[in-house]
């Protein structure tokens, strides 16, 4: 398997999987080409993300990126979350092959949709 240790760890032990019953922002995005889906629920209080949960359907990078995103979001301010990029996600999973970068892009799109929903 060509994936990094961090990647495999996210896949074997996904962080923050599930949904928040008391979410203040929820978003679900689909990659229209491949059908991969990601759902993110956030509880934002006083501009800070107190809790983040994700669900994902798709290839392994999509699952790993969802896990990495949900993990890094907790405790972050909504403003800092708004400037996260695809590369931050790619770094968090220990790198991705070029053909799988779309998974990190889906994570960022879902994050943007969730933070927009919170506004």
């Amino acid at each position: 398997m060509a994936y990094s240790k961090e990647f495999q760890d996210h896949l074997a032990h996904p962080r923050n999987a599930g949904e928040l019953a008391d979410a203040t922002a929820i978003a679900e995005e689909t990659n229209p080409v491949c059908g991969d889906r990601m759902r993110l629920s956030l509880r934002i209080h006083n501009g800070r993300i107190e809790a983040a949960r994700f669900l994902a359907y798709g290839c392994p990078p999509t699952l790993a990126c969802g896990s990495a995103l949900a993990e890094m979001l907790e405790g972050m301010t909504a403003n800092d979350a708004a400037i996260l990029t695809r590369n931050d996600i790619v770094r968090a999973v220990g790198g991705l092959p070029a053909r799988k970068l779309h998974a990190a892009a889906l994570a960022i799109e879902t994050l943007r949709a969730a933070t927009n929903a919170a506004k």
């Binding site: 994936y3 080409v33 491949c34 759902r39 994902a56 359907y57 798709g58 290839c59 699952l63 053909r99």
Partner: protein, 396 residues
């Protein structure tokens, strides 16, 4: 970590007896089979013996066996070689579940003026003889239907199709040929070219416990076929290039062993496969078996798990030391759901969630429990993450 190889439809390990047979041809008997001297003739004898072994394996005459670099080349040679031998583009019939080497060869011909009919395989994954009959046209030159499918293992009605073609020939059609890709069927089904009634039949060595890089095409005497590889006079002018003597020797030995041991090997893998499916049903919900349950190869089980994606499941199993395969592939944000599973009329989600478990002669009875346990665990873990599973639960 425990390692269990369950991808025998992709490739098989080299049998120690096969390795033993080929080794002298790498070192002491390394001559070129076309050389006149004694060392060349030793190599020639090895190739000739393998040719007789392959002929016995398929019920063919040794002169009807053409060694190639593998199943893909055998399929290319069958299709493009026959096409090259006719004066103008004609019509060809293939099934919707052919191996890419058949499908893309047909597409290549299509770009060069040929008409190609692709036959549906319906829900069971099996071609209907009447569909072939009604697809026939006066200008049909070639029918290519695989003996058994590589992804779902369904067995096609080859002898009936062979009978159909012979009937047409008896009524005066001279230029209609029938090819079958038997790469997956070899070693698992008896292959007698006379009983099957085929004119061309493809084989690959590495699916029957011999090394990669060698295959064969049976070309019935009288079939008009032009070579694709131009060079020397090898293979009776049908395939130029120095013979891969050690690999060919290995292929011959593997074919002989496969024929001799077929009943025991089939019984063994069938028992493991059936037990696997039975136990899985009591551990996992919401899965479907793809392809006909009865008319399929004994070693293979193709399963779609609802709400999960095949590649995710594959990687999860790989992390537990279990090697399987999936027919769908995701690359650059585009998904290619398995065309084979799609051809069965399954929806996109099921086509993305299909996994092929293919057992082999060296798998052990005690592997089954571990495979079931790890599969159930991986499916459960992926479903916990899946928004599709949550949605479905909400609907219910």
């Amino acid at each position: 970590m425990r390692r269990i190889y369950l991808d025998h439809s992709a490739t098989t390990p080299v049998d120690s007896r096969v390795l033993e047979a080929m080794l002298p041809y790498l070192t002491q008997k390394f001559g070129n089979a076309s050389s006149v001297h004694q060392m060349g003739q030793e190599a020639r004898a090895g190739v000739d013996r393998a040719r007789r072994q392959l002929a016995a394996f398929t019920g063919a005459h040794p002169n009807e066996i053409v060694f190639t670099s593998g199943g893909t080349e055998a399929n290319n040679l069958a299709i493009l070689g026959v096409a090259a031998a006719v004066p103008k583009p004609g019509h060809m019939i293939i099934s919707a579940i052919e191996h890419p080497s058949v499908r893309t060869s047909a597409e290549f011909l299509q770009k060069h003026g040929w008409e190609v009919t692709i036959l549906a395989v319906h829900q069971r994954g099996i071609v209907r003889v009447e569909d072939v009959q009604s697809a026939l046209k006066p200008e049909t030159v070639l029918i290519s239907v695989m003996t058994a499918n590589n992804e779902i293992g369904t067995i096609q009605p080859i002898a009936e199709l062979g009978g159909l073609v012979r009937g047409e020939r008896d009524r005066g059609r001279r230029n209609l040929w029938f090819h079958t890709d038997a790469v997956q069927a070899a070693g698992r089904l008896p292959l007698d070219v006379k009983a099957l009634g085929c004119d061309l039949l493809s084989l690959s060595a590495h699916k029957i416990y011999a090394p990669k890089g060698t295959g064969a095409l049976f070309v019935r005497k009288g079939v008009r076929l032009l070579p694709l590889q131009h060079g020397g006079h090898q293979e009776r002018e049908r395939r130029g290039g120095t013979e891969a003597v050690p690999n060919i020797v290995a292929f011959g030995t593997a074919a002989e062993l496969a024929q001799k041991e077929m009943p025991e090997r089939n019984e063994h893998v069938r028992r493991l496969r059936d037990r696997f499916e039975e136990q899985l049903a009591s551990h996992v919900e919401d899965f479907v078996l793809n392809g006909d349950r009865e008319l399929r190869l004994p070693h293979l089980s193709n399963i779609s798990f609802r709400f999960v994606e095949g590649e995710g499941l594959l990687i999860h199993l790989d992390m537990q030391g279990i090697a399987v395969s999936t027919g769908s592939a995701c690359s650059s944000g585009t998904i290619q759901a398995s065309p084979i599973i799609r051809a069965l009329g399954r929806d996109e989600e099921l086509a993305r969630g299909s996994i092929r478990f293919s057992f082999g002669k060296d798998n052990a009875d005690e592997d089954v429990e571990y495979i079931v346990e790890m599969t159930a665990r991986a499916v459960e873990s992926l479903r916990r993450l899946s928004p599709l599973a949550r949605q479905s639960a909400a609907v219910i």
